[in-house]
């Protein structure tokens, strides 16, 4: 599917910087590969007999950077993605919506269960920044030059409550 998608994108004249940034990831091997990391909490969404989304949550990777919660523990989303066969830019259609929202909601629950009050952190792929900023209501802390120039986002306790519809 990846090869055919690249071919389609090239034929359509779409510049490389507009291609899905995780197009090259080997989705089929992700679940098995993540088993090496026992410290990570792994989440998967299946529907219609197929995997639709994956998320890995790390509780020890880093602490909060926003001044109001500086240094406090948070749940860090090490990886989150929806399956290529559920993405319109790859498969041509998007059969299921809401994979990202339900995964972020699950990560908030992990944070709450750990006593981290819903605090989250993650590095978004550039094309996903809008989702975390505008749809999830997270705080954009700018480009992280120490982490592949990805955009770092953090969710505060109050933002987590808003996300969950508690405010």
């Amino acid at each position: 599917m990846v090869e055919s998608t690249i071919s389609r994108l090239q034929k359509a004249g779409i510049p490389r910087d507009k291609w899905p940034q995780d197009l090259h990831w080997d989705w089929d091997k992700k679940a098995g590969w993540s088993r090496r990391f026992l410290s990570l909490q792994r989440f998967a969404i299946t529907c219609g007999g197929a995997l639709q989304g994956l998320m890995l949550v790390n509780l020890t990777k880093l602490s909060a950077r926003i001044a109001s919660q500086w240094g406090k523990d948070l749940a860090y989303i090490d990886y989150l993605s929806t399956a290529p066969w559920n993405r319109p830019e790859i498969a041509g259609v998007q059969q299921f919506h809401g994979v990202g929202k339900i995964m972020v909601r699950a990560a908030i629950q992990v944070s709450l269960d750990e006593g981290f009050r819903g605090r989250l952190g993650l590095h978004a792929l550039g094309q996903a920044a809008s989702f975390y900023r505008n749809v999830c209501g997270m705080t954009d802390l700018g480009t992280d030059n120490d982490y592949y120039n990805l955009t770092y986002f953090e969710m505060t306790e109050s933002q987590a409550k808003a996300f969950c519809g508690e405010t």
Partner: protein
Amino acid sequence: MQLNITKDWFLNQAHLEEGLEIGAGALQHIGRPALRVVPAAESSISTISQHLTFGRFVEVMRRKQGWTVSDLAIVAEVSPEELLVIEGDPYHEPELSTVFGLAKTFNLPAKNLVKMAGLTQGGSSRLREESVRFAACSESKEPLTEEENTALQAFLKVIVEESDP
């Protein structure tokens, strides 16, 4: 872990991400510890400083009136939650409507308060310098110290007097 998501919540939320990328994380670093903790991008430090100053200013003005956050929220007709974030989170960009509500409540020129909050570019160097001086002089204690009160009065004078060049 028990995840209580109602069907209504999910149906209301799912369509919001239609057509959006959601990818997060760099595979090369998964499972590896210790990212170097760094502040936000350098380019945004000025904005963060403005938010910090604005938050300090709102806090002091509130305390000057002897108001709680809830009191100010009621008078200014703004969200108490946003007031809390304005006072405590320099990364938070205040809502324009909130700044206008606060300007009306404090009887100050809204245009200058908007600049002070970092919502528009520009503003005189005097306003910027006095903003920083004010923030640096005020400390979070109750009630206002004489020094804070003096700094507040001087800063209020600048806000009222300062006009566009």
